[in-house]
């Protein structure tokens, strides 16, 4: 087995929220990422899926050191990143880069495309000559499918897809080993999504990149990922290779997510039983006891409220955090009672 490039163990990122008044402070702690562990191997893609607000983006920011973790460890190529100085993290960002969700928002409107892509070069290699910088910028722009004469254009002159290409170029210009893609396609049209996803896959093959691909769209994740990590309320529910996730999901949450993917065929889509999840995700301010998913889980038993399920490693190397993962996959999903059942009563 190859050694992982990135080892994350028990990572915790907390936000402090002040809900007090002008004169009194009431701090609440939101456990946005709560004990997340996973590995990323060289040249593989790890997909991370979960609903909005489950801590995906916080996790991405923590990996880059943009958000300080509360605890746990991030080991990058054998070096610990948590608790190190800002200066050290800044150097490491040459090796770990990020692509943002909002393609145009992540580009400075007052900089030309050339300046934007050159920025990482200027900060990481201040001694590089102007000519070298320009050659590298033009090279990388062509690699992501932009023309070299577009170097003097401003971001607002580009479409969303083109802006995302610029974002990709900026991330790749310093030859990183790992690129964290924080929902890189969710702001784009479906037709453009495919282009960008395929571009990322091509570049990954060419440059031997490791990718962490965050999305809430399961079909996109299925297309790019080697392994998939499912998050819910800041915790890992299941980590498994792509085939197991899609064909034999073990965690009821994974199963619910996969059931909710629409089938692009109206006849079959209408014919299938509605098995969507009931209710909303509980507030991260006050997560349920035991298994965080139990309030929406149709298979929940008393034990789920009492005991936090461990992330258990199975025989095939996949991992799942559920007390009943051995029994549930065989059981049929209970039918909804016309959607008016209150599922999230604690």
């Amino acid at each position: 087995m190859r050694a992982p490039v990135l080892k994350v163990r028990g990572l915790e990122v907390h936000y402090r929220v002040d809900a007090g008044s002008l004169f009194r402070h009431d701090y609440y702690t939101i456990r946005a990422v709560d004990g997340v562990s996973f590995d990323v191997f060289p040249a593989e893609t790890l997909g991370i899926v979960g609903e909005s607000g489950c801590g995906k983006s916080t996790l991405a920011r923590a990996l880059l050191g943009l958000q300080r973790p509360k605890g746990g460890s991030i080991e990058w190529l054998g070096e610990e990143l948590v608790g190190t100085r800002e200066e050290f993290l800044r150097k490491k960002r040459r090796e770990i880069q990020i692509i943002f969700q909002d393609p145009s928002g992540s580009l400075d409107p007052r900089m030309t495309i050339g300046e934007i892509v050159a920025e990482p070069l200027k900060t990481f290699y201040p001694s590089m000559s102007r000519l070298q910088v320009r050659e590298r910028v033009i090279g990388i722009l062509q690699l992501v499918g932009l023309r070299s004469d577009q170097i003097n254009r401003y971001p607002h002159e580009f479409s969303g897809g083109q802006c995302q290409r610029v974002g990709i170029a900026r991330a790749l210009v310093v030859n990183p080993r790992l690129v964290v893609c924080d929902e890189p396609v969710s702001a784009l049209d479906v037709s453009i999504q495919a282009q960008i996803v395929n571009l990322l896959k091509d570049l990954q093959k060419k440059l031997q990149l490791s990718l962490i691909f965050i999305a809430h769209d399961l079909s996109v994740v299925r297309h790019v990922s080697d392994r998939v990590l499912v998050m819910y309320l800041g915790k890992v529910m299941e980590v498994a290779d792509r085939e197991s996730i899609y064909h034999a999901p073990r965690h009821p949450y994974t199963r619910a997510l996969i059931e909710s993917v629409p089938i692009p065929d109206p006849v079959r889509e209408r014919a299938r039983a509605r098995r969507s999840l009931q209710g909303d995700m509980p507030s991260p301010l006050d997560p349920p006891s035991g298994c965080v998913f139990r309030t929406r889980c149709p298979f929940a038993i008393d034990r789920c409220a009492a005991e936090v399920p461990e992330l258990e490693t199975l025989d095939d190397g996949n991992r799942v955090a559920c007390h009943r993962h051995r029994e549930i996959p065989a059981e049929p999903w209970p039918e909804n009672e016309d959607g008016d059942r209150e599922a999230s009563t604690t």
């Binding site: 943002f100 030309t112 102007r130 003097n152």
Partner: protein, 301 residues
């Protein structure tokens, strides 16, 4: 377009040397395309040359009265093209000298408030939290201090000096600037592109310099064009109170003030300085508008 010309065209596109351009080079080209802004720029340039060279060309001096002509209307025969004031001083020379003072006060005081205000506001907004709180409460405290009291205090401590006027006016105006800049910075620092810059390894100082300040420029420039006229008027108010420039030195504000008192007997002594003041303020406003548009790439036509 035929196939071959299109090929040639595309080849030309490919082989043409591509030079990186920056916001400021681009902005300059855009500014030159804006007729009103260019007109403003030209008027200001002429104005500066005129107020500097004018007094040298004239046979009159700004302090020595022409004993034979008190309060005479403009006339080529007497040589007083703008007329004379109540004690016989040549109004043309006085308007030019007044222009030197007014432009200098306007530009320097604005520069002082610009430098202090932008730096202070950007730092407060960018740091946020407790630092922001402390810095902005200080601004509030200074704001609450009466302006006149502040100026008189300065005069008493340092004596009367034209540079004190710049400092006094600048030291009050930067408060507004700091507030405006801070508000903008607060909204800018949460933008994705700032986060992206951080992910690119930029230091905090680099982020402020490369991303925050260029994005503040639009608002700042508009405010500057409003500040220059305001400063010129504040200076005339100070002069009126006897705290600004002192006779025989003068300024546009002071001249307008004198002229207004003699409006019925000698209307020219109001008209000329007022016209110069108005034209200059117009020119600043046009230039400011043009700069704001030029510095915003999205407005490019």
């Amino acid at each position: 377009m035929s196939e071959s010309t299109r090929d040639a065209f595309e080849q030309a596109l490919d082989t043409r040397e591509i030079r990186g351009r920056s916001l400021y080079v681009d902005a300059w080209h855009r500014l030159l395309k804006n007729k009103a802004a260019v007109a403003g720029l030209v008027v200001l340039a002429i104005m500066v040359v005129l107020v500097l060279v004018g007094p040298l060309l004239s046979q009159w001096d700004h302090e020595i009265p022409d004993w034979e002509h008190y309060s005479t209307p403009p006339s080529l025969e007497t040589g007083h093209v703008f007329g004379t004031d109540a004690i016989g001083r040549d109004l043309f020379v006085r308007t030019m000298i007044g222009g030197q003072v007014s432009l200098l006060v306007g530009l320097l005081a604005t520069l002082v408030s610009l430098v202090i205000g932008v730096t202070y506001g950007a730092v407060a907004g960018y740091l946020g939290g407790r630092a922001d709180n402390v810095m902005m409460r200080f601004v509030d405290a200074v704001y609450a201090m009466p302006f006149m009291f502040f100026v008189i205090l300065l005069m008493v401590v340092f004596g009367r000096n034209i540079f004190l006027i710049f400092i006094a006016i600048g030291a009050i105006n930067w408060l507004d600037m700091a507030r405006i800049v801070r508000g903008q910075t607060l909204s800018l620092k949460n933008k994705d592109f700032v986060e992206a810059a951080r992910a690119c390894g930029a230091t905090e100082a680099q982020i402020i310099r490369r991303h925050i300040i260029p994005n503040l420029l639009g608002v700042v420039i508009v405010y500057v064009t409003l500040t220059i006229p305001q400063v010129i008027l504040v200076e005339s108010f100070l002069s009126f109170l006897g705290l600004g420039v002192q006779e025989p030195l003068t300024s546009w504000g002071a001249l307008v003030n004198e002229g207004a008192q003699e409006l019925e007997t000698a209307p020219w002594s109001l008209m000329f300085p007022a016209a110069f003041l108005a034209v200059t303020l117009f020119a600043f406003n046009f230039l400011g508008d043009g700069l704001r548009d030029a510095l915003d790439p999205k407005d490019r036509l």
